[in-house]
């Protein structure tokens, strides 16, 4: 069952990715992430001394501020902030800098579908740029289920509006390891088989959801490679100096 996507992509094809780090002068870490026409800017400030009132002072605290492109801040922005905060809390090592706050600001530059996944990817790269200690990186994809039952990846805004249901999935990145049995495992399964966050909208069957997970996980290895190449390139650029 073939579906004709408006921009000619196949079912599992992602839009062109672009990422640049260290673009803001004052922020301690910054990154801009674009998937096709969706573009998000993330800035990280910290770690700074002190935590908020209701936060545990034995751990670092992460605060997220989401700024939409237009309009006032409402419930949707608060929901995105909460999802982003919990995702970032599970990838950062919070015990390294106790009693500190790291602020992550997300600015939406353009929204053309898959906004939250782009924001999660941008925030992760900005945290790497700021040198915040992390357990592993997070790669995020949007998978949607069409009315015909077909699953497609990385929809544009028009495609997202026509879909029956969609899921934002966040996976850990694929790690390189010197261990003979490959990457470290948790209870017998390699880390790459885990999932960090899953946000679903609409209705889909359980089989459709598992199929989305499979497709998303396959695409996450491509995203992992892209992140790794991006980090390698920028580090060789700066090591040419002096």
């Amino acid at each position: 069952m073939e579906i004709d996507r408006e921009d000619g992509r196949s079912q599992n094809q992602l839009r062109p990715l672009a990422c640049s780090r260290n673009i803001l002068h004052r922020a301690h870490g910054s990154a801009s992430w674009s998937q096709g026409d969706t573009k998000v800017l993330a800035a990280v400030y910290g770690p700074k001394a002190g935590t908020k009132k209701n936060e545990n002072p034995e751990k670092a605290c992460i605060e997220v501020i989401w700024k939409p492109k237009t309009g006032q801040i409402g419930k949707l922005e608060k929901e995105y902030e909460m999802i982003l905060k919990r995702t970032l809390q599970s990838i950062c090592i919070l015990t390294v800098n106790p009693n500190t706050t790291t602020s992550v600001m997300i600015q939406v530059v353009n929204d053309d579908g898959a906004l939250l996944p782009s924001a999660i990817n941008a925030a992760c790269m900005a945290l790497v740029d700021a040198g915040i200690p992390m357990r592993h990186l997070a790669v995020s994809i949007c998978c949607c289920v069409a009315r015909s039952g077909l699953v497609i990846l990385d929809p544009t805004k028009l495609e997202e509006q026509k879909m029956k249901a969609f899921a934002y999935l966040v996976f850990p990145n694929s790690v390189h390891s010197v261990l003979p049995e490959g990457s470290p495992s948790v209870q017998g399964e390699p880390i790459e088989n885990g999932i960090i966050t899953s946000v679903t909208h609409g209705t889909m069957s359980v089989d459709d959801y598992f199929y989305c997970l499979e497709r998303g996980r396959a695409a996450s290895t491509k995203l992992s490679d892209f992140l790794r190449r991006n980090l390698q390139q920028q580090s060789t650029n700066s090591s040419k100096a002096g």
Partner: protein, 240 residues
Amino acid sequence: MEIKQSSSPTSFIDSTVVPGDVVLDLSSMTNQTIKLGGGLRQDCDAISAMKAGTLRFSKPNKYWIESSQKRYVPCVEDTVLGIVVDSKADNFLIDIKGPALAFLPVLAFEGGTRRNIPKFEVGTLLYLRVVKANFGMNPELSCTDASGKAAEFGPLKDGYMFETSTGLSRKLLSSPTCPVLEALGKKLSFEIAVGLNGRVWVNAASPDTIVVAANAIMNSESLSTAQQIIMVEHLLKNIQ
């Protein structure tokens, strides 16, 4: 079943690693003591990276991740430039661009007694040495060297302070002398203090010299040796 040796091509030394990469396997290195520097953490028998950067190894047993950030991670025996934020009865509170404010004991000066406590205003720039940097505690600083002498530590008067990344500070302090400093030093006379926390202070007789020196240093971050020399020549041509 094949057993991979850790000195095979999968060794990550001098290559870029990403948070999560397992860079050392301790189960294959019994009877050795290894020292882990910044950016690495231990998870039972596997050492994994916490930051993105280049993995470095120095004989006989030190491993660390080299990366350049805008914020500083306090380390003992580092020399840093701090700014006074507040003063308490026993300590000055100093900002050193780290996760917590640092304390400078009021008596940590050469010949310091309760009678001659220096009075630093909020905003004073000081050249300091990190004495203690323990987990969970505020770092402690001192204005003397290990033997108690003043040795150039203390307030820096006049001049201009600017912020850089920690990588650039390390390059400026490397030996042999960094190319940009050598090229500037051939034509200009200026005084410079470099803090490993990403702050640099420059002072000279005339403001022109200070501005040229500061701009040259800020521009030199991503340039190679030859490019740095050309950049400095270009800047100096415009003022002479």
